[in-house]
C-alpha cells in the first residue's frame, strides 16, 4: 500500500539546541573532565556524530559518590523538607521553560519522533518533578511510619529508550525523600542528562546533590558496586538486572529493578475494534517499540482475528516513518546499530520458526538505523518472537478462544510488567485484570503513564515501584 497522501516536510528547527562538541562529567555542581576515555554519541537517524562525552572511570565514580555523600551529610539531608521541595519545584519549572530545547535534543540523540519527545517525554519528566516536589515535606503521610529517613546516596542507572523521563523517574523521588544521587545515563543517549545538569545549576541546586557520570557498562558496574552507595535503582534489561542483583547480594544496599517485558494486549470479540486498533498501534509502535511495557504480544479472540488484522494493517499503512524532527513523523529511528541488529535477528528467527512476517510498503531513509513496523502472524507461544523481548517495532499476533485461554497465554511468560484488555464488558475487564500477573494493566487504552500512578513489574520484570505514594518506599527507611 502506498502512502495515502503526501505531507510537506515540517521539520522542527534544531537551532534551539546548542550541542557542545564535547562534555565532561557533572560532579559536585561543576562540569569536570573525566579521567577515563571518551565516546561519541550519534544521531541514530543520520549517523552524524553529535558530541563526544566522557566515559566515567572507577575513579570518576568514586569522586561523584564522595560528592554525593558530602552533599547528603552536610546540605541535603539536614535541609528543611519544604526547601528541598522548592528546589524540585524550581527544576520542574525550568524543564517546562526549556521544554522545546529538551525535546529537540532528545529526538536528536535518541531518534524518537519530536511529537513524542515534545508531547510526552519532556512534559512527563517535568510533571514527575512537580509531583515529587510536593511530597518532600509530606513524607510522614507516605505510610512508612512517622519521620521516615532517607537512605543516603543513590546510584542510578537508566536506559536509552526514554533518557530524560527515566532520569526524572529516578532523580525526582530520590531528591524528594532527601537522598542525593549519582546517575549514569545510557551509553547512547547521554545528552539530555547533561543538559539537565545545566538545569540543576540554574536552579542553584547545592553542589553534589545530583551528579551525572556518563559512560557504558563498566561505569555502571563501578557505580553499583561502590561501597558507599546505599541504594541502587536500575531500569534496563532483565539480564543486567540479574547481574546487579547478584552484585548487591550480601550488602546492605537497597535495590529496585525495572526490567524487561513481553506484554499481552488482549482483544475480545466485543471490543470496540477501531479503538482497539489504535491501542494496538500505540502499544507496539510508540517509541519504535523501545518500551519495556510495549504490547508486543497481541492476543486476539479467534472470531475477530481477520477483522482486527485487516484493520490493523490498514492503519499501519498510514504511519509515517522518517526524520524524527519532522512533526508529522510517527515512527523514528532505531536507537543504535546494535539494537537494529538484535531486531533483525529476532525477526529472522521469527520467520525461520514458521511465523509470517508482514510489513507495509514504506521507504526508509538511506542513512541511519531504521526498521519498518512489523507484524508477525501464525505465531505460537513457543516461538522466540512470542517469548523474547524484541524491544523494537515488532508485533506478534496470537489467538485465543476463551477468557481462560487468554489469561493463560497472557501469563505464559517470565515477565510481568504490563498488559492490555479490550472489551466493552465492564465485569470482564475487572475479572481479567484481576487474573493478569502484571504490574500495570491498561483496559481499553494502552501505554498511559502518570507520576501519581505507580509503575513496575511482577515476576522477572523487576521489583519496586516508581511513582505515587508506593514509589517513595524505594527511597525511605521507615518503621513500617
Amino acid at each position: 500500500m502506498t502512502s495515502l497522501f503526501e505531507y510537506a516536510p515540517a521539520p522542527e528547527s534544531r537551532s534551539i539546541v546548542d550541542v557542545r562538541p564535547s562534555y565532561g562529567l557533572f560532579v559536585d555542581g561543576e562540569f569536570t573532565d573525566g579521567t577515563g576515555s571518551t565516546m561519541k554519541t550519534v544521531n541514530p537517524a543520520t549517523e552524524e556524530v553529535l558530541s563526544e562525552v566522557a566515559v566515567g572511570s572507577g575513579e570518576d565514580v568514586d569522586r561523584a559518590v564522595r560528592a554525593a555523600r558530602r552533599a547528603f551529610t552536610r546540605v541535603w539531608g539536614p535541609m528543611r523538607p519544604a526547601d528541598r521541595g522548592k528546589y524540585l519545584f524550581r527544576i520542574a519549572r525550568l524543564l517546562q521553560e526549556r521544554a522545546r530545547e529538551f525535546a529537540v535534543l532528545e529526538s536528536l540523540d535518541n531518534g524518537k519522533p519530536i511529537r513524542e519527545s515534545r508531547d510526552f517525554d519532556v512534559p512527563q519528566a517535568a510533571a514527575h518533578f512537580f509531583h515529587h516536589a510536593g511530597w518532600a515535606d509530606k513524607l510522614d503521610h507516605a505510610g512508612l511510619g512517622p519521620a521516615p529517613r532517607p537512605l543516603g546516596v543513590a546510584g542510578q542507572v537508566i536506559p536509552w529508550n526514554f533518557p530524560m523521563l527515566m532520569l526524572a523517574w529516578k532523580i525526582a523521588p530520590a531528591l524528594a525523600t532527601g537522598n542525593t544521587v549519582v546517575l549514569k545515563p545510557a551509553e547512547t543517549t547521554p545528552l539530555t542528562a547533561l543538559l539537565f545538569a545545566e538545569v540543576c545549576q540554574q536552579a542553584d541546586l547545592p553542589p553534589g546533590v545530583v551528579n551525572i557520570v556518563t559512560g557504558a557498562g563498566d561505569t555502571g558496574r563501578s557505580l553499583v558496586a561502590h561501597p558507599d552507595v546505599d541504594k541502587v535503582a536500575f531500569t534496563g534489561s532483565t539480564e543486567v538486572g540479574r547481574e546487579i542483583a547478584r552484585s548487591v547480594a550480601g550488602t546492605q544496599k537497597r535495590l529496585t529493578l525495572e526490567l524487561g517485558g513481553k506484554a499481552a494486549n488482549i482483544v475480545f470479540d466485543d471490543a470496540p475494534i477501531d479503538q482497539a486498533v489504535e491501542g494496538i498501534v500505540r502499544g507496539i509502535f510508540f517509541n519504535q517499540g523501545h518500551v519495556c511495557c510495549a504490547g508486543s504480544r497481541l492476543l486476539v479472540q479467534e472470531s475477530v482475528h481477520d477483522e482486527v488484522l485487516a484493520s490493523l494493517q490498514r492503519r499501519i499503512g498510514t504511519l509515517r516513518i522518517g526524520d524524527p524532527l519532522d512533526k508529522n513523523t510517527d515512527i523514528g529511528a532505531i536507537n543504535s546499530a546494535e539494537q537494529l541488529v538484535r531486531i533483525r535477528e529476532l525477526s529472522e528467527i521469527g520467520e525461520a520458526e514458521g511465523a509470517q512476517r508482514w510489513q507495509p510498503e514504506c521507504t526508509l531513509p538511506d542513512r541511519g538505523y531504521w526498521f519498518p513496523p512489523t507484524v508477525f502472524t501464525d505465531v505460537s507461544a513457543a516461538h522466540r518472537i512470542a517469548r523474547d523481548e524484541v524491544f523494537g517495532p515488532v508485533l506478534s499476533v496470537l489467538t485465543f478462544r476463551t477468557p481462560d485461554e487468554a489469561v493463560a497465554k497472557a501469563n505464559n511468560t517470565t515477565y510481568g510488567l504490563s498488559a492490555g484488555v479490550w472489551t466493552e464488558k465492564g465485569s470482564r475487564i475487572l475479572a481479567i485484570t484481576d487474573r493478569l500477573r502484571a504490574g500495570v494493566v491498561w483496559a481499553n487504552t494502552f501505554n498511559e503513564f502518570d507520576p501519581t500512578s505507580p509503575f513496575g513489574g511482577y515476576k522477572q520484570s523487576g521489583y519496586g515501584r516508581e511513582g505515587g505514594r508506593q514509589g517513595l518506599a524505594a527511597y525511605l527507611q521507615g518503621d513500617h
Binding site: 547478584r246 491498561w442 487504552t445 502518570d450 500512578s453 505507580p454 511482577y458 515476576k459 522477572q460
Partner: protein, 288 residues
Amino acid sequence: MSDRLAVRKTYKLYLGGAFPRSESGRTYEVTDARGHFLANAARASRKDARDAVVAARGAFAMWSGATAYNRGQVLYRVAEVMEGRAAQFAEEVAAGEGLSAGKARASVDAAIDRWVWYAGWTDKLAGVLGSSNPVAGPYFGFSVPEPTGVVAVLAPQRSSLLGLVSVVAPVLAAGNTAVVVSSLERPLPAITLGEVLATSDVPGGVANLLTGDAAELAPWLAEHADVDGIDLAGAPTPLAMELERSAAGTIKRVLRTPAEEPDWTADPGLSRMRPFLETKSVWHPIGV
C-alpha cells in the same frame, strides 16, 4: 500417677495438606536443650522441597483469589485452634528452647496473638497500601496490592514457634503460599503447627512445612524458577549472601536477615508483608 504408657507422636512433614515422611526416608534425632532425645524428625530432601513448591503453586490461585475477609477468618481460626493446643506447644517450646514453663507459655501466647494480629490485616492491606490515582487525564486509575506468589521461608533457628509464626503468618496474610523450612535443631513445633493448619480450614498446599536443614534445602529453593520470593530469616549469615546471589537469577523478592536473630516480640509493622506484595496499577478511560 497413671502408669499408662504414653502414645508418642511420629513427626513427619506437612506437605500439600498431608503428613508424608520424607521421600528420602531420612530422619534425624531431635533433642531437648539438655541433649535428651525427643523424637526423630523427617529430614526433608530436595525432592520434598520441589514437591512442596508444586503444592504451593497449586494452592496459590485459590488462596490469593479468596476474599480478604475469608482469608482473615481462616487465619483467625488458626489462632483459635492453637489456643486449644497451647499446653502442647508450650511443652515443646520449653523442651526445645530450654525455657521455663512460664516463659514458654508466654512465647506461645505471643505466637497465637500474632495470628490474630495478621488475621486482622488481610482486609486492610488494600486500603492502606493501595491508592486511587489522580492521573492528569480522563482516566480512572487505581492501584492494588497483590500477593507475590510462592514464597520460600527459612524459619528462624532459635525461636521455634513465635519466630516461625512471625515469618509464616505475614506471608499467608498477604495472600501468598509458602514453603517453609523449620529450625534445624528445634523443628517439632513446626510440625505441630502443621497439625493446627490442617484443622483450621487453611487449604492444603497453602503452607508447607519441611523439617530439616536449611543449608541443604535453601539453595534449591533460592534458584527454583517457580519460587517468587524468599525470606532468609533463618539462613546462617554466610549462606544468606549465597542464597541472595542465587535468587537474583530469577529476580526473586528477597527479605534479608539481620546478623542477629531479632526480638520476635516486637511489633513487626508491615515489614514482613511489604516485601511479598506487588502493586498492580489499572487504567480505564472515562467517557460517555
